[in-house]
Symmetry: C2
Subunit: 455 residues, 2 copies
């Protein structure tokens, strides 16, 4: 006999949590579709070789690999042993494991686009809302199974896409009640220009990886890391000057226009930021020159969405432009740009700010109490009519003490209890009790739908 | 460089398929909630020991096991080797694999109920719609990842639950347009009574396993299998007589009332069937005495839903009553009854019968053609207003030849194209072209929402 338990870092979602999560997901889905994005769903598992090597060394270690089936069939044993030996050497082993759980939505999307590039209508705008799995050490707010929520446009280099994705962030956050969100933007081209004047282009990754930690570790430690990464004092002083640029968006633009006047890529990055500023009217955009985004496939505008400052939650979304995502799968020259929403974080923010609508649960509205088989027959008929009118109802299945039935209705948060006794059977009336305010009322069977609907 | 491919037996779902699948899932979800069921979601992975031994020997082999992470860390290597040796002996090995992908929704549900029995409001009515994974050999209509869709009531032995589940089948199938579905019912108690008079109660499983194959292999082969399973000629002749009972539901009840007059469990099973007949008015119930359902945990009423006879698709759902599901996890005496919908089959049936609504896709309704930056600015403003009014629209991101933009609109099935040229910018009118009928009309910017909404 197994004592039941759930795997570490995973969760059962019960009704109220699901209703709240779906409220977020449905809001985002509606907005994605308002902007012309269409859904895509990829399988939970991908071939291992699709995933390996795409997330860096640390990421690879966090991929959940699936054991091949039938390994101990006599015909497979020697292959399995070979595979196991390779595994022990830290190598990929299709002999032992051919498949793995997806680690994000981006690589499966790239795999899909590469497989179907010829038949897709470009630009292809897709959204995807699915769970992903990572063998991270579980901790508060970090799970081994969590939902990602992405929208990407591939096959277009136009900055209109960045504008539209910014508009999507705005519309989603406003609909969810997070009006004071902040959408931080920067351009990887601006960071490339910084590298040009502070250590050389080949130092770009070193600089961005260090800068990316600014929020977490502070300027002094970033400077130490930059030193360790081989930048000299002069380089670091330029970077520090850059990181200290502040003021309004316009001030920042002005400062980097001076700083990168000689850099072609710098001017291109500045043009991107200016285009975005000029073409988004409502979005709470703020240029954050320290924004770097860890992922090295970004090449243009990068985004990070922050929760309203009153909750200390940090990032609730992010994204950016990439130039050659499907190149990994042999299909070059498909550029794209995408954004992602952090569902778990948004959930926590909305919970803390008390933003979920009050009647979010589709709970039963009406319960018929069970007083015996004659009443049951009538209840079943009345329920059929209520349901035809989209009123959720149920009949307590056991003929037990009313007290127990009331308790059930109370725990489930049901609004109306209906009692049909011997007298009511004769008069074709039922007693409707509002369980919130205790008021009872006699209602004719035929008027029940109207009564419930008008309340 | 990896040539992209998708794991055998899994599928990418693209937009139109997702809209159709969601049409089915949302219909079922709505009905479940109308009947007072609440949602539950369990993780994709369960602890291996939760799943092993629950699906029979064959089932166990089809469970996808997840390799533990960090097996080649020096501290884990000896444990991993031990685990691998056990695996080669065909044993469960937490040293190598602690987790597995869920194989169905029933065992995770039982695990959830067992873990939370004290805090659940009984009877607990939950529905669950999630993917499950099986390492079956892929073939037409059989996938390694597929969605199950279950509703169960636990903590109640009342037959009202069976009545309500029958009503759910009826309402879902009618809403989906499958009016001529057939809901076959039987009782495992009737089959137990058959065993009593044809070989003894200890032969119950042998008899049901053989009978369960009647549809597939025919009566003669069932008789051979019964012989092989140790039943004698006399037993088999009784079983044959039973299997040949036909006529209306009433005829069948009458026949088994005679046949099982002496059997207490037989009479109990007949009462169940009669109660179900008497309390369901609209449901297309048909008693099928040959219905057995392979799973041995069923103890009372069993269901099998069949697609309308005009499509040769067979089963589109099934379920039944079980007495002690959570006993496996140390929590005894929680009885339940549940039903399941076969989403992939229902999808195929609806496709074949042409039952999906025509405008099922939430495609973009309006596209703004891109004629340059001045037009883009106006388009972005107009789109903002359209979206405020829930009209899905997009702007072609590149300023390319109109022919290419028309082609994109056509492929995406967009209804209206809006052209704003230099002239239109001045007059604050735009040209709206209906791409289905080719009709063009000039519409003032301010009237656009009303125009689109009234069309």
């Amino acid at each position: 006999m197994t004592k039941p338990s759930i795997p570490q870092g995973t969760r059962d979602f019960t009704a109220i949590t699901i209703y709240k999560r779906n409220y977020i997901l449905n809001t985002i889905r509606t907005v994605f579709e308002l902007y012309g994005f269409e859904p895509l769903e990829t399988p939970a598992m991908e071939n291992l070789e699709t995933l390996m090597g795409k997330y860096g060394e640390e990421g690879d270690k966090l991929i959940f690999k699936i054991l091949n089936n039938g390994l101990n069939d006599s015909k497979n044993i020697s292959k399995a042993k070979e595979g196991f030996d390779k595994l022990m050497e830290g190598k990929n082993t299709p002999q032992l494991t051919e498949r793995a759980l997806k680690y994000d939505l981006t690589i499966p999307f790239a795999r899909y686009v590469a497989m179907n590039a010829n038949m897709l209508t470009m630009p292809y705008k897709r959204y995807q809302m699915q769970p992903v799995w990572r063998a991270d050490r579980p901790q508060r707010g970090r799970y081994r199974e969590f939902t990602q929520c992405d929208a990407d446009i591939v096959g277009s280099t136009s900055l209109i896409n960045e504008v539209e994705l910014s508009n999507i962030y705005h519309r989603v956050f406003v609909l969810l009640g997070l009006k004071n969100y902040e959408l931080k933007v920067n351009s990887r081209k601006v960071l490339a220009a910084l590298a040009q004047i502070a250590g050389g282009e080949q130092k770009m990754i070193d600089i961005t990886v260090a800068i990316d930690k600014l929020d977490k570790i502070g300027l002094e430690k970033v400077k130490i890391e930059l030193t360790e990464r081989g930048l000299n004092e002069n380089n670091i002083s330029i970077i520090e000057k850059y990181l200290n640029i502040n003021g309004s968006n316009e001030d920042k633009i002005e400062a980097i226009e001076t700083l990168f006047a000689q850099s072609e890529i710098g001017r291109a990055g500045i043009e991107e930021l200016k285009y975005l500023m000029a073409n988004t009217s409502n979005v709470n955009l703020s240029i954050d020159l320290t924004l770097a985004r860890g992922l090295n496939y970004y090449t243009g505008i990068i985004f990070e969405a922050k929760a309203p400052a009153e909750v200390k939650m940090g990032s609730i979304g992010g994204g950016g432009r990439y130039d050659n995502l499907t190149g990994l799968f042999g299909v070059p020259n498909i550029a794209g740009v995408g954004v992602s929403f952090g569902i778990d974080r948004i959930y926590d923010v909305m919970e803390e700010m008390n933003l979920f609508p009050e009647n979010i649960a589709n709970t039963t509205k009406v319960i018929f109490f069970n007083l015996g088989q004659n009443e049951v027959k009538i209840a079943l008929q009345l329920m059929n009519t209520l349901r035809d009118n989209n009123i959720a109802c149920e009949l307590y299945p056991e003929n037990v003490k009313l007290e127990k039935q009331f308790k059930y209705a109370d725990k489930k948060g049901i609004l109306y209890a209906i009692i049909i006794g011997t007298k009511e059977l004769e008069t074709k009336n039922c007693m409707v009790k509002n369980l919130k305010n205790g008021i009872q009322q006699e209602v004719a069977f035929d008027d029940l739908t109207v009564f419930i609907n008008n309340k």
